[in-house]
């Protein structure tokens, strides 16, 4: 079918982003909207292979230390200025200061050279396996040098009127109501984008979002916009299409932090008992409406070097009880911290609590809001805590951080919060990041997965899917591993 030009789409954004300058603000909604305004050097296929973005082509040196990118020609910023390799070098500098994840990803970067306007050469200190996987727009967006150079980034007035190279331009933001983006008429791919305008509507209540979609006021519900219980109903409506694609890069992986330092959860047997006690299939089927997969271990099945040849834990309360006895658990109170992200997560925590109580674990739910949750988890003030994290396609980017002992540090809810410390694992992940080529890395990560699933440092739950729900006449919305976050460059409206 031939794409058609024109049309306006209405999407939902929740919660309202604090800002749209994606180099400064990295929260989910910001990335989702800003993916239309800003671009990265690369895009990724659902299989996580790199695709051309602002970089046309790239090459890697023999020793895996030098990466050369050729930039696309004729790209301009929204204000008309040309985009060049100087912008790339500037962006790297910028993000190292403001973007914690970019800072981590670029740890092995030695220098950036710009031999000409359309060539960028990255030199690494040592090989870094996942290097080609860090150029997605949310992780390494390109930032206009001519606007930010020499200014205080955080107070630059341009932050309120973001300028990127993307297919859509920022037009208007009515706080509390909507964000409006309009077509970039001088986009460097002829004919694209197809859409004239995008409205991102801010609707705080999940039920109200569902109603807005149902009544036709909204065309696109990005993943996580409505409660899971509503997904089957909405997907049964006429002219509604649902896709689980577009999350391959992030691979949201959920588990329970288990405090390995103290209390019953410090006991490995107790932790294993938990794995048997929790009915993860119930969670998958009832709470997530089947839109999930039972996790087998630290890696999601969508990322590199995943294996399911590991110790698995089926729902088995009897076994859980036996293990608890062995562990010598004496009915101590165990605090369970749910993730304060809405009703689905709350229900899930209730179900888990019930599972735990069924095998005799005295679980008590502790309620907090998001900041409270952040604080409690960061300060290790919990026994069991729900979480889910992105894996960013590679165990070196999204998995290792949660298990290596160098990442044990108070103050972050995303590092090795459980306090698991195993020199063998530390070594494996250290080697895995810098090993070259891929086959060597694979071997290392398989081994790590085996050890971890035996030790149960955390209780893995589900690989989540956040389905994107659209009207069926919105075509070609999700094309890459980053899904809606990669912008509506290719999307078009069938009228």
């Amino acid at each position: 079918q031939e794409p058609k030009s024109g049309g306006v789409v209405n999407a939902v954004i929740q919660p309202e982003p604090p800002g749209l300058m994606v180099g400064l603000v990295q929260n989910g909604p910001t990335q989702m909207v800003a993916g239309n305004i800003y671009e990265g050097l690369l895009r990724y296929s659902p299989k996580l292979e790199p695709l051309p973005g602002l970089a046309e082509s790239w090459s890697v040196s023999e020793d895996g230390k030098i990466y050369t990118f050729k930039l696309r020609k004729g790209v301009t910023w929204h204000d008309g200025k040309p985009f060049t390799s100087a912008d790339v070098a500037f962006s790297i500098d910028f993000l190292k200061q403001t973007h914690p994840r970019a800072r981590g990803n670029l740890a092995q970067l030695d220098k950036v050279e710009t031999p000409d306007d359309s060539t960028v050469v990255f030199t690494l200190k040592q090989p870094f396996g996942p290097f080609l996987g860090i150029f997605e727009v949310g992780s390494l967006p390109m930032i206009p040098k001519h606007i930010y150079e020499g200014t205080d980034y955080k107070t630059n007035p341009a932050n309120n009127t973001p300028i990127g190279t993307g297919p859509f331009m920022f037009k208007e933001w009515q706080k509390g109501s909507f964000i409006r983006l309009v077509k970039n008429p001088s986009y460097y791919i002829k004919g694209k984008p197809y859409l004239d305008e995008i409205y991102w509507h801010v609707i705080p209540d999940a039920a109200a979002r569902a109603v807005a979609f149902e009544t036709g006021k909204i065309d696109i519900l990005p993943g996580g916009s409505v409660e899971n219980f509503d997904v089957p109903r909405l997907s049964k409506l006429k002219n509604v299409c649902v896709t689980g694609a577009g999350w391959e890069f992030f691979s949201p992986h959920s588990w329970l932090w288990l405090n390995n330092r103290q209390g019953p959860t410090a006991n490995k047997k107790f932790r294993q008992a938990l794995m048997y006690a929790i009915d993860r299939n119930f969670a998958k089927d009832v709470i997530w409406n089947g839109l999930a997969k039972v996790a087998t271990g630290p890696s999601a099945s969508t990322i590199k070097y995943y294996t399911d040849k590991v110790t698995t834990y089926d729902y088995d309360p009897a076994k859980a009880k036996a293990l608890l006895k062995e562990a010598g658990y004496n009915g101590e109170k165990v605090r369970l911290l749910p993730l304060p992200y809405g009703e689905t997560w709350q229900r899930w925590a209730e179900a888990v609590k019930q599972n735990l109580q069924d095998v005799g674990i005295n679980a008590e739910m502790i309620a907090t809001d998001v900041p409270g949750w952040n604080q409690k988890v960061s300060d290790w003030d919990y026994d069991i805590a729900f979480t889910y994290l992105y894996q960013y396609g590679d165990p070196a980017l999204g998995v290792g951080r949660n298990y290596v002992s160098s990442q044990i540090a108070k103050g972050s809810p995303f590092n090795n919060v459980e306090g698991y410390s195993n020199p063998e694992i530390d070594q494996l992940f250290a080697d895995g990041a810098t090993a070259f080529p891929d086959s060597k890395r694979e071997e290392i990560y398989l081994k790590a997965q085996k050890i971890l699933t035996d030790d149960v440092p955390v209780a893995w739950q589900l690989e989540l899917q956040f389905p994107t729900i659209t009207r069926c006449n919105v075509k070609n919305l999700v094309t890459t591993a980053i899904g809606v976050n990669d912008g509506f460059r290719d999307a078009w409206l069938d009228k």
Binding site: F229, F282, V286, E350, A351, G372
Partner: protein
């Protein structure tokens, strides 16, 4: 008092309210004895409609929990929240109002500024902030509700005391040399109490509503099944399972209605104007 009771019983609305409330209290007290299963237990498949499976007359919720059990256990929590927070609000409001009204002057002024302060901050917003700060639990919820609901009590009591203080029988107590405390306790408060009782009955109702609104925003106590929690939790699935919110909603409605009717009845019964009409 017995006369007030009779007046109260002559008011049909009040009697209906009283019957409903007594029923709710009976359910709260004895229900869990008859219904020993935890309301959190997942007993059946989710979304069983009401009146289809025997033993589950009101159906099940999104996790397959018994809605009826939830309502029975919820009665305990909701009524408790209502009663305890009202008691707490009275415990603060009555002394503050009484002292402000009785002593007047600088103390009274300071107390009333203090009251005004709490009345000026939008009450629900303050409750939200308090619960969020203290972290949701039954204690913090009760506390927050009490903190936002005592000012009207203080104002009412102050007004009453202010007018009672100049009554001749209070002056009579003063000239017979009785102490401030016995004047307040014996002469003033008993006579200031009837409008407070009416207000209190309405405050219980408001507290139940407030708890449910807090639950709606996810600020309920996650370990306790309350009606507000059920309505809040069920609203996301309202389209496919109306019964999950409807039944607890009706429970809230009936209790609040009952308390209001009682309040109305008490108002008539305790109002000396009405009971000795035509003097």
């Amino acid at each position: 008092m017995s006369k007030s009771w009779r007046m109260m019983l002559r008011n049909p609305g009040g009697v209906i309210g009283l019957v409903i409330l007594l029923l709710a209290i009976a359910i709260a007290v004895f229900g869990p004895l008859l219904f020993p299963t935890s309301p959190w237990r997942m007993v059946q498949r989710p979304f069983v409609p009401p009146f289809t499976v025997s033993g589950l007359p009101l159906g099940t919720d999104a996790l397959g929990r018994d809605v009826l059990a939830g309502i029975i256990y919820g009665a305990r929590v909701s009524l408790l929240v209502g009663l305890v927070s009202t008691m707490a609000a009275l415990a603060v409001g009555i002394p503050v109002g009484a002292l402000a009204g009785y002593f007047g002057g600088r103390i009274g002024d300071a107390l009333m500024r203090f009251t005004e302060f709490f009345q000026t901050v939008p009450s629900f917003a303050l409750a939200i902030v308090l619960v969020a700060i203290l972290q949701p639990s039954i204690v913090s919820i009760v506390l927050a509700i009490a903190i936002v609901s005592w000012p009207p009590v203080a104002r009412l009591v102050r007004g009453e005391v202010l007018s009672l203080r100049t009554r001749e029988y209070v002056q009579a107590a003063v000239v017979t040399g009785q102490s401030h405390s016995s004047i307040i306790w014996r002469e003033i408060l008993p006579n200031a109490l009837s409008p407070v009782i009416v207000l209190a009955s309405l405050m219980v109702a408001t507290a139940i509503l407030l708890e449910s609104s807090l639950s709606f925003l996810g600020l309920g106590d996650p370990n306790l099944m309350s009606w507000g929690y059920m309505v809040g939790a069920g609203r996301t699935v309202i389209r496919q399972a109306w019964w999950i919110t409807l039944f607890p909603g009706i429970a809230i409605l009936l209790s609040v209605l009952a308390l209001n009717l009682i309040g109305e009845g008490l108002n008539d019964a305790l109002n000396p104007r009405l009971s000795k009409e035509g003097r």
